[in-house]
C-alpha cells in the first residue's frame, strides 16, 4: 500500500517536471548549429597548416539555449532568419555581412499578431531620438534580442518583473560600453549622476521603467516606442504622483489587465481592453484588487469623503460651541 502511495506521489511530481522539460526542447533541425554555438570553442581545419585547430568561440556567437527556447522565436529554425548557406561548415566568411531581417520584415502587416501593432510601433519608433540620430542603423534588435525576446509586458502580472526586463533593455547599451560604442562615440553615460535630481533614485530605478519619463505615453500601444531626447524627458513629479497618474496608462495597465482577465497565460489583449483597464483603474471596486501605490495617486474617493465629513462635523461643532460661548458671555 505504502509503495503504491509512493508511486502515485512520484508520478504526480514527475507530471510537473516532464511537461516543462518537453516544451523547452531545441528544435531538431537546430541541433547541428547548437552543437557548436553553445560551446566556448570550436574545431576547424586550417588549410594553411593542414591541421585541425581548436579555437575560442566569439562570445557573442554563443547561444543561451534555455533563454532561446523560452523566447517568442524559440521554435524557429536557425535558417528561418539566417542564410541557408550557414548549413555548410566552415561558414563562408562573407555571410557575416548579410543584412539580417528586422521585426517589420516578418511582422509588417502581420494579421496573426495584429494586437501587437507592429506598424504603429515602427511609426512611433521613427519619431524617436534613436531613429533621429542613427536612422536605419538602429534596428529593433538593438533593444529586442530576437533570440531571447519575451513579451513580458503582456505575459507577466508582476510589475517588478516588467520593470526589470524593460530597464535591462535600456541598460544593455546605456550602461554597457561594449554595446554603447556600436552606436555612439560619446563617453559612457553616468546614469547615477545624471539622475541625481531624482528623489529616492534607487527606488525609482527599481519600481518604474526608464521609458516612463523618457517616452511620450502612447495609450493605444502596449509599450511606448517614441524615446525622447534627454532634454525632453519629464522632470515633473506630479505627472505620476497624482490621482491622474500617467502610470495608469502605462506601467500599471499591464498588471491591471492581467489581474482583471485573471489569467496570466492569456496574452491576447485588445486595445479597447487597454483603455477600459486604465480608466477603471481607480474605481472603487477595483482599488483593492491592484498592487498599485504611488504617493499622491492612491486617493480613495470613499476615504476622502469620510475625511471631509469628519472634518466638516468637527469644524461645525467648534463653531457652534464658540457661538454659544459668545452668546452666553
Amino acid at each position: 500500500m505504502l509503495s503504491l502511495i509512493r508511486a502515485i506521489l512520484l508520478l504526480f511530481v514527475f507530471s510537473f517536471l516532464v511537461v516543462p522539460v518537453k516544451s523547452q526542447m531545441v528544435a531538431e533541425e537546430n541541433k547541428l548549429c547548437i552543437e557548436c554555438h553553445i560551446s566556448q570553442s570550436f574545431t576547424i581545419h586550417n588549410d594553411w597548416t593542414r591541421m585541425d585547430e581548436t579555437r575560442l568561440m566569439n562570445p557573442f556567437y554563443i547561444l543561451d539555449t534555455v533563454r532561446f527556447v523560452n523566447g517568442v522565436h524559440g521554435a524557429f529554425q536557425c535558417i528561418d532568419c539566417h542564410s541557408y548557406e550557414y548549413e555548410t561548415y566552415p561558414h563562408n566568411g562573407e555571410l557575416k555581412l548579410e543584412p539580417l531581417m528586422t521585426c517589420i520584415d516578418c511582422h509588417g502587416g502581420d494579421d496573426t499578431y495584429a494586437s501587437y501593432q507592429f506598424d504603429k510601433v515602427e511609426e512611433e519608433f521613427e519619431k524617436s531620438i534613436h531613429h533621429e540620430l542613427l536612422g536605419d542603423q538602429f534596428t529593433c534588435s538593438k533593444c529586442h534580442d530576437q533570440h531571447y525576446y519575451t513579451p513580458t509586458a503582456r505575459t507577466s502580472s508582476n510589475v517588478k518583473e516588467i520593470v526589470e526586463y524593460s530597464n535591462n533593455m535600456c541598460l544593455s547599451c546605456h550602461d554597457n560600453m561594449i554595446k554603447y560604442q556600436l552606436v555612439s562615440d560619446k563617453e559612457k553615460p553616468q546614469l547615477v549622476q545624471i539622475h541625481d535630481w531624482l528623489p529616492n533614485q534607487e527606488l525609482h530605478f527599481n519600481r518604474v521603467r526608464c521609458i516612463e519619463c523618457h517616452t511620450v505615453v502612447q495609450d493605444s500601444l502596449m509599450v511606448s516606442h517614441n524615446i525622447l531626447p534627454k532634454e525632453k524627458a519629464t522632470k515633473n513629479c506630479v505627472e505620476c504622483h497624482s490621482s491622474n497618474s500617467v502610470l495608469q496608462a502605462s506601467l500599471y495597465k499591464y498588471q491591471n489587465l492581467r489581474l482583471r482577465s485573471g489569467n496570466a497565460e492569456n496574452d491576447s489583449v485588445s486595445s479597447s481592453e487597454v483603455y477600459s483597464g486604465s480608466f477603471q483603474f481607480l474605481s472603487m471596486n477595483n482599488i483593492f484588487s491592484n498592487q498599485y501605490y504611488v504617493i499622491g495617486a492612491s486617493r480613495i474617493p470613499l476615504l476622502n469623503t469620510i475625511f471631509v465629513l469628519i472634518f466638516g462635523f468637527t469644524v461645525a461643532g467648534i463653531v457652534t460651541h464658540a457661538i454659544f460661548r459668545f452668546l452666553k458671555k
Binding site: 504622483h241 484588487s289 504617493i295 499622491g296 467648534i318 464658540a322 454659544f324
Partner: protein, 184 residues
C-alpha cells in the same frame, strides 16, 4: 516645536496627498515632510523617555475606576455646564495637570496615534522593510492609507485641542501655558 513639526507635517502631508503645489512643490513637500517627521520622532522619543523617568509620567497614568463618570462629567461641563456658569469639575492644580477628557485624549494621541504614524512613516521612508503584498494588495499602499488615516485623526485632534484650549480663564491664557509650560 512639536506643534510646529506637526503643523508642517499636516500641511506637507495634505500637499502630497492631493499632489497640489499651492504651498509646496511636490519634491519640496516630500523633503520637508521627511525632515520634520524625523525631527518629530526625536522629540517624541524625548517625551516618551522623559515621561518614563520623570514625574510628568504620572499625569498619563490610566485609572479605570469611575473613568466613564469622570469623562461624562467633563463632557457635560463642556456641552452645557460652562454655559450655565458652572465651574470646571476638574480645575488644573499642581497635582492635576489635565482634566479627565484631556488626559485620555492625550494618552490616545501620544501613546497610540503618534507612535502609529511614526512607525508607518518610517516604514514608508524605507519601503523595502514593508511586506510586499497582503492578499494581492500592495503592503506599501496599505501602510500609506493607514498613515494618512492616522495623520488625519491627529489633524482633527489638533483642531479640537487648539479650540478647547481657548476655554480657560481668558481665551488666551491657555495658549500662553502651551508655550511657557506654566499654568497661571
Amino acid at each position: 516645536m512639536n506643534a510646529l513639526c506637526i503643523i508642517i507635517l499636516i500641511v506637507t502631508g495634505l500637499s502630497m496627498h492631493y499632489s497640489t503645489s499651492i504651498l509646496f512643490k511636490f519634491e519640496s513637500a516630500v523633503a520637508v515632510h521627511n525632515i520634520s517627521g524625523v525631527v518629530l520622532t526625536i522629540f517624541y522619543f524625548v517625551f516618551f523617555v522623559g515621561n518614563l523617568i520623570t514625574e510628568n509620567g504620572k499625569f498619563y497614568q490610566i485609572k479605570t475606576k469611575g473613568l466613564k463618570n469622570r469623562i461624562q462629567k467633563q463632557i457635560k461641563y463642556y456641552v452645557s455646564g460652562m454655559f450655565k456658569g458652572e465651574t470646571s469639575p476638574y480645575p488644573v492644580t499642581a497635582n492635576r495637570k489635565f482634566n479627565p477628557l484631556q488626559k485620555y485624549s492625550y494618552i490616545g494621541v501620544m501613546y497610540i496615534l503618534v507612535p502609529l504614524v511614526i512607525i508607518t512613516g518610517f516604514a514608508l521612508l524605507f519601503p523595502e522593510t514593508i511586506i510586499e503584498e497582503v492578499y494581492q494588495v500592495s503592503g506599501v499602499m496599505l501602510t500609506a492609507i493607514f498613515h494618512s488615516i492616522v495623520g488625519f485623526f491627529i489633524m482633527i485632534f489638533l483642531f479640537v485641542h487648539l479650540y478647547v484650549a481657548s476655554i480657560g480663564k481668558s481665551p488666551v491664557s491657555n495658549y500662553k501655558s502651551m508655550v511657557t509650560g506654566w499654568h497661571s
